[in-house]
């Protein structure tokens, strides 16, 4: 398996970081910031599923836990968001560890594991929706402060850079992981768990480390989501939408590749937005759900033409 070097990663990050210096509309900046949040969630998923082969359908459980922890720590405990952020990541990681412990120890794999993660996310959604502590069905509002010490920025570019910094961190973590012993073990477990065990790999420990890391990265995406929209309810935090976004992007971008989640998110969200505008122009009114149709077609095309995602196509090109 090829690994993406430091250079292409740095180049992509520099280009993205430079974008706000150009003439960027507010809509565009919002779009990019949102894309960074989704990318981060997808990067978390990619570690567990892309590298480790454990396909989760419930990364909302981690996204939502990160998000709720971020919101609740600020609102109920008055904790500064900069401090709440790492605590929320740890909380999401702990939920990941717990779900991993229960399902991997029971030797759940494949679709069974996917279903169990989905079920956990749904249980969390229902709990958050009914529990007063999390604001119940009304959700949690974080008051607008526009103060960098509160992780809120008058200049929206700063939020984008913050989110990009998180994505960059995850890029380098993934890059280091792919080249590490743990990364080799993780990929070995994905490829053939029995063979890995025969070579001394503690499959359970490896999967637990992967899901914990994966969950805390996706949890960080939840934290950013709260700081961007300053509002949270159970369907936003634990809804299926984020589980789907988190897995579509790496599949389209390139499973298990370092840049796959980022590339996939930009393509998917970009196409979604473009198709909405284009179809609105053609038909003279919004066509609800048209972006989903386009995404569906893209996903089918991806599976048929580029099973290794866009990064796979890029590599084949580069080699030819």
């Amino acid at each position: 398996m090829n690994t993406t070097g430091i250079f292409p990663i740095s180049a992509v990050v520099f280009v993205l970081a430079a974008l706000p210096f150009g003439p960027l509309s507010n809509t565009m900046l919002n779009f990019l910031s949102f894309a960074m949040i989704i990318t981060l969630a997808a990067q978390g998923w990619n570690i567990l599923a892309g590298l480790g082969g454990q396909f989760s359908f419930g990364h909302a459980a981690f996204f939502g836990t990160g998000a709720y922890a971020m919101a609740v720590l600020q609102m109920r405990f008055g904790i500064n968001p900069w401090l709440a952020f790492p605590i929320a990541m740890i909380a999401a990681g702990a939920v990941g560890f717990a779900i991993g412990f229960l399902s991997f120890r029971a030797r759940l794999r494949g679709s069974y594991f996917a279903l169990v993660t989905l079920a956990f996310a749904e249980v969390f959604r229902i709990l958050a929706n009914t529990w007063n502590f999390t604001g119940g069905a009304a959700g949690v509002l974080v008051p607008l402060k526009s103060d960098p010490t509160q992780m809120q920025f008058g200049d929206k570019r700063w939020f984008f850079w913050l989110a990009l910094a998180c994505v960059t961190g995850a890029l380098f973590v993934t890059h280091a992981l792919v080249r590490s012993r743990l990364g080799a073990h993780l990929v070995a477990v994905r490829e053939n768990e029995d063979a890995a065990r025969a070579l001394g790999v503690d499959a359970l420990a490896v999967k637990l480390q992967a899901i914990t890391l994966s969950a805390s990265i996706t949890g960080a995406a939840g934290c950013l989501y709260v700081q961007k929209f300053l509002y949270l309810d159970a369907n936003l935090a634990y809804g299926t939408w984020i589980s789907v976004e988190a897995l579509l992007a790496p599949i389209v971008g390139g499973l298990g590749t370092v840049l796959g989640p980022l590339v996939g998110t930009l393509v998917l969200l970009g196409l979604g937005e473009t198709s909405k505008t284009v179809f609105a122009k053609i038909t003279g009114g919004a066509v609800p759900g048209i972006d989903l149709v386009v995404l569906g077609v893209l996903l089918i095309g991806c599976v048929a033409i580029a099973p290794r995602g866009i990064m796979g196509l890029v590599r084949r090109r580069a080699k030819a």
Binding site: A184, R190, E191, A195, R197, A198, L199, D202
Partner: protein, 257 residues
């Protein structure tokens, strides 16, 4: 004689009503190549799985260097020095040859550079050094068997369990592999080998155990075992030994099962 490297004592393994291994015992002496032969379905692979920790025995004990490892998980046994190959090869198909071997090398080498160097050295020893960057899925049968061997060797084992690494190879490939296996032993790795290719068993093994229908029916020097009446009958059916004796010596040619 000092205690054997591996001791298998009265191991039984049942799958539901089927007794795959029935009260089988064997020793692998340190520094030896010990053979395990027997007709198809005799329980050889099952016994390997019990030794390597992939199947828990229904009864009996397994000890490595005198330490009871019967309840030790497979990956811990690998750390303790037991490496196995799979009869049905289990490559990491999506990875290159080097990456495959390096997974094994990571057991004793934490850092990537050291693990890579060790993996390359092992690849050279088994003759895979020309295809390090090739995807494992593109290897021929012979290549895959070598890869199984290389990965196991990369864990730097004390005891190597080889399950039919010569099966599916043509005669010239078999001739190439025999010195490779002997060299492994000469480098200090004890070997327990399951093999149907009798020519290899005769050339390589110091001691041979014979398993038939789960029971250990004979053991001893290869030449002696091959002439054993019970062994011949296990392979060829009741009365075969008498018929064969009237024909010729069969020292080197117990037919393939």
């Amino acid at each position: 004689m000092s205690a054997a490297l591996l001791q298998v004592r009265a191991v039984t393994k049942r799958f539901g009503g089927l007794v795959a291994v029935d009260d089988a015992s064997l020793d692998v002496a340190a520094g030896s190549i010990t053979g395990l032969i027997g007709p198809n379905g005799a329980g050889k692979t099952t016994l390997f799985a019990v030794i390597a920790g992939f199947e828990a025995p229904s009864a009996g004990r397994v000890a490595l260097l005198g330490d009871d490892i019967t309840d030790t998980p497979a990956h811990v046994r690998a750390q303790a020095g037991i490496a196995r190959t799979f009869q049905i090869v289990q490559p990491f198909a999506g990875l290159s040859v080097l990456e495959n071997i390096r997974v094994g090398a990571y057991l004793r080498h934490r850092h990537r550079a050291a693990a890579t160097a060790s993996a390359v050295a092992v690849a050279r020893a088994v003759g895979l050094d020309q295809m390090l960057e090739k995807p494992a899925s593109t290897l021929t049968v012979a290549g895959r068997k070598r890869l199984e061997l290389a990965r196991a060797l990369a864990t730097e084992p004390k005891l190597l369990l080889l399950d039919e690494v010569l099966a599916g190879l043509n005669p010239s490939e078999i001739r190439d592999m025999i010195p490779v296996i002997r060299k492994v032993r000469d480098d200090g790795v004890s070997i327990l080998i399951v093999e149907h290719v009798m020519q290899a068993v005769m050339q390589l093994c110091d001691v041979v155990y014979v398993l038939a229908q789960g029971r250990m029916i004979a053991h001893g020097a290869p030449g002696v075992v091959a002439r054993d009446t019970a062994v011949i009958e296990a392979y060829l059916g009741h009365g075969a030994a008498a018929r064969m004796q009237s024909q010729q010596s069969i020292a080197a040619s117990v037919p393939h099962a």
